[in-house]
Symmetry: D2
Subunit: 344 residues, 4 copies
């Protein structure tokens, strides 16, 4: 590794790619190399990402192994199913960070059921706050960046499973901003449709992030965790607010719940358990790599309820990717990552 890490971003015209570049522009010791795209190749980045002023005149090149070659780190912000082939051609010495789903799931059957096609294998999972994750990320050359929903939901419930507070039957409803769907030209993503409206999708266990939740939480729980997951689209560009609940085990009370979350997160640089009585807002995390959360016990319903806020593009995608890259490169984990949100 040189003193300055040279980085390529494949998929630089999209939302995930743009957020990566926003963060990398303030990351010390990083040099931004090739920016690649599909149909936008040949155009300037400024056309697609006018907020990335210092890179406005950079010309997008086509996404090929050749344009991506010669970089220390390659971020792949590509549609699902495109990463494995390109990664194979980049060689084992390049750090490949896959923001797509290709290498998240351990189980080939799960992959085939939810995404179709051949399973590309599992890479170290880029959610450092999960037990054992930092060890797996240190020095790795391959990182699977988590999905945005599993990031919020796993951070919301992992401490409860780690401390044995809840039964393995969780219900997660996550309200998301529209950028999670990418820059896709679909009617239901038009501003006219989205503003003033809330709507659910992928209901009834149909969303592809469902097995990823289950994989993460089952690993922490040490038993199979059943996940009922419903994503809700809300009229905001960014942010995920996750509400996660599960039946309490006998004898668990508010104090025990709070203690478990304090223990889990007191030393985490990017997770804030809010003071008792304060509840997170997605606005407070905007543009930051933070997860803000709160936990409580519903004594009547005998359920644990956790609410967690993240920025889906930062902690939920590009920020999580950079955080994991830092670990893989041996840099301080927080390098280049904001802990301050942009509000109001």
């Amino acid at each position: 590794m040189r003193m300055t890490v040279n980085i390529a971003v494949a998929g630089a015209s999209g939302y995930a790619g743009g957020e990566l570049l926003r963060l990398l522009l303030t990351h010390p010791g990083v040099e931004i190399g090739a920016l690649t795209a599909a149909s936008s190749a040949g155009t300037k980045l400024g056309v697609h990402q006018p907020h990335l002023v210092p890179l406005a005149d950079r010309v997008l090149v086509e996404t090929t192994p050749e344009t991506l070659a010669g970089h220390d780190v390659v971020f792949l912000a590509l549609p699902h199913g495109h990463s494995a082939e390109i990664a194979a051609q980049l060689g084992p010495d390049v750090l490949v960070v896959d923001l797509g789903a290709d290498h998240r799931l351990a189980d080939a059957g799960d992959w085939q059921r939810w995404y179709g096609g051949d399973h590309a294998g599992q890479w170290p999972y880029g959610l450092p706050e999960l037990p054992g994750a930092r060890e797996r990320l240190a020095g790795t050359k391959r990182i699977a960046v988590p999905g945005c929903f599993p990031t919020g939901g796993s951070l919301a419930l992992a401490p409860a499973f780690a401390a044995g507070l809840i039964e393995p039957d969780v219900t997660i409803v996550a309200v998301t901003g529209t950028s999670g769907a990418g820059k896709s030209l679909k009617p239901h993503l038009l501003g006219s449709e989205v503003m003033g409206s809330a709507s659910a999708y992928g209901v009834g266990g149909a969303h592809r992030h469902t097995p990823e939740f289950a994989q993460n939480l089952s690993a922490v729980a040490g038993e199979k965790v059943t996940v009922s997951f419903t994503p809700v689209l809300a009229p905001m560009p960014r942010g995920i607010l996750t509400t996660a609940t599960a039946p309490l085990k006998d004898g668990v009370d508010e104090a025990a719940a709070r203690a478990a979350y304090e223990k889990a997160y007191d030393a985490e640089p990017f997770v804030q358990l809010l003071p008792a009585g304060a509840w997170p807002t997605t606005a407070a995390t905007l543009g930051s790599n933070n997860t803000q959360l709160q936990v409580t016990v519903d004594a009547d319903a005998r359920r644990l309820v956790v609410v967690a806020a993240i920025d889906n593009l930062t902690k939920g995608t590009a920020g999580g990717a950079v955080q994991s890259m830092n670990l893989a490169l041996g840099l301080p984990e927080t390098t280049g990552l904001p802990t301050v949100g942009v509000a109001p």
Copy 2:
């Protein structure tokens, strides 16, 4: 009853009062009488409700038994705890429709726990789609209008309990627009705070609508139903999107679930079970008295999942109130109530 029903609205400067007047303005055979307010008494309605053009020059008078006297119907859109005393002074022949919470709960202990103070007793509950409700509303002189969340959540789950599809342990997460909080001058309701942000509140069983959900669903289920309820504030003025889930009883499948909902709602004028595969949006219900919903079975998690959209101010408040008034007065139930939303 005269040919034209004379109506007073107490709390005409607020959101619920404004929505009532919007609906009453197109209700045939209704005459809008006194409009009352608290601190806004003496000002013109147009200052507070510029969208109610035909009533712009009406002057608000103080909310007293005297100003409300002499009307056939009095709607009370007042803060909780103010309805009982006024209703007592209006006499038994006046139809009093209480949009507040005072007369919703049957149990005095529940009332004291959730609202404090003396229990004012229970009135016929204005959700005509619930079993037996129409009978109780016909000819009544007192109506307790449901809370906006229990309207959506009860309609979402009542058919499942009626058909014996689910266990009595439900989880409800409801995303709401800001008008549900009324025209309250609180920092977290400022546009700058709300836009671009989702946030939960009243988490962990702390929201006052929790016992109302439980009361409604338990009555249908014929057993005590436990409710875990979390409201989420989203950046939209109107609308509630309810996601309700519960464990399936053995042997229940998608077809059985769909059949139960078709049976429950096929004849309902204001409830639409959407075609299979379509999911509701709050935008489609805006300004209408409709509930649009969809039901599915999560076979992996063995849960029923229902998503229901309403306009919190229309079906969730003022529309539900007018619908119940129609029943009480012996008018056709749908009189004056839009079944067409305003979209996009």
Copy 3:
């Protein structure tokens, strides 16, 4: 004409078509006939317009002279340049209401410059509040519905020109919701791009509505009016807020300005000059056929300033179309048109 007017809507899957149907559903004595579309032909209307519940199961047919034949009234909500040919085949006895631009401009040169192709000729212009418009609309079989911006801007400034208050050199900046752009799948109309953002377009006299403003205002002024027009896209689904200013003629003061607007609009059913000191909001007009406006004099800058709010889809498109249809059919002008907005 039969007692019930039979109506076809071409372009029923779009925003203008949807709004037309919303209004026609409450229009007494109207029967909704063929609903046509282009690529959506063969699908149910409910897929595209879930808010139009009573028409959810209607199947869209292709837009052809045959499917449109046999109706008393045909509304054409089609892309620019498609109306003339279809209208020619519908015969002279059918009332054809063109919501496109094809028949708005008198001058063939203007048409060619701004839209290209052959000029289809001018039809009676459907803005009844303009001087002489009602006479031209009465009994007509052809109506050109105004553009949404010229509706707001012409109503804002016509009284000032009629009363000789201002110089013929106007500046108009109009903030619009996104539905004005239709259901177009363009990146800049995505919710993620629109929310939290304001942006201008068609700047510097490039917007096609510019000659329409000039035509309307010049006719009232009796001299050529120069128009500097800038549209601004704002994060809301509906609404146009027009700010229009022009230099005052000598001696004109606030009282004269107000008097001119009172005179012009006191008898208009759909235009409200607000009480002095109150300023319009687009929210107050949502879903109604109203124009709410206010006028003032900037004594320092010696300019008249008028601010006008409309709903771009109602008064600005479909409501204006129905209002003009009423006049053409000899019905009361206000039939089926809401004067009450949906707020908040």
Copy 4:
């Protein structure tokens, strides 16, 4: 001055104060000292600004000369009329940066007319991009931070006046997000009122920023400039989109206009003249200190039209303040100021 500049922020619980702290947290060589407030004194900053995670546990103290004493730099984000007295007690060696209006206007008569009370005198004006501003700011101990609207409007038109392109009779319509109004508990700023709505205010030359525009532009023009200014509130938390037009002088064409703006801004670190044909969006500037603008000539109306986007809280308030502080302290002007926005 020590190596590390010690900074106090008066008004730390508000939007301007919060944005200042957001920027100062990433400003190298700055130490954040006292954070003061009025009614919120005694509470933790995290209650009011949950996005400022590193300062969450800081306790707000009362705003007094004593709590502000002992700092190298004091930012005053206070209501208008409160700065002069406090500044007087801070001593001449402290750098006082006034984010209020107290020291912006040169003319005592203007001050009295627009704000009332005694004129506190004029301080060097913190808009470095204006001619001569940097010289006046270098080494100063007193800075008057411009109003948010005059920031956008002055940057939009100064080059045109400097190059003699336009007549001194300008029309400015500026669309603003709600945070410009501060965290004020006023009904029209509630989310329910703001979302889905555009509205003008301070119309007809009534907004207090009008004389500030005139002062800035007259200084550049070398003659009295008349300003017609209309602010429009739009449903977004942040951002100002300024549309500014003025009559062209004879012979001025697009090329001349573009050349003047290129000359003015090519070397400016925080102003971007976009490529021809691209128009600014407020979203692209969110959270950055950038001004993005575009200029064109309306050949028909013979007017120059400039559109400029800023973040009202960053370049329009706190970012402009830090930029000017940097100049006053002799630091590189861009220190601690983002040139990359947060989008989408």
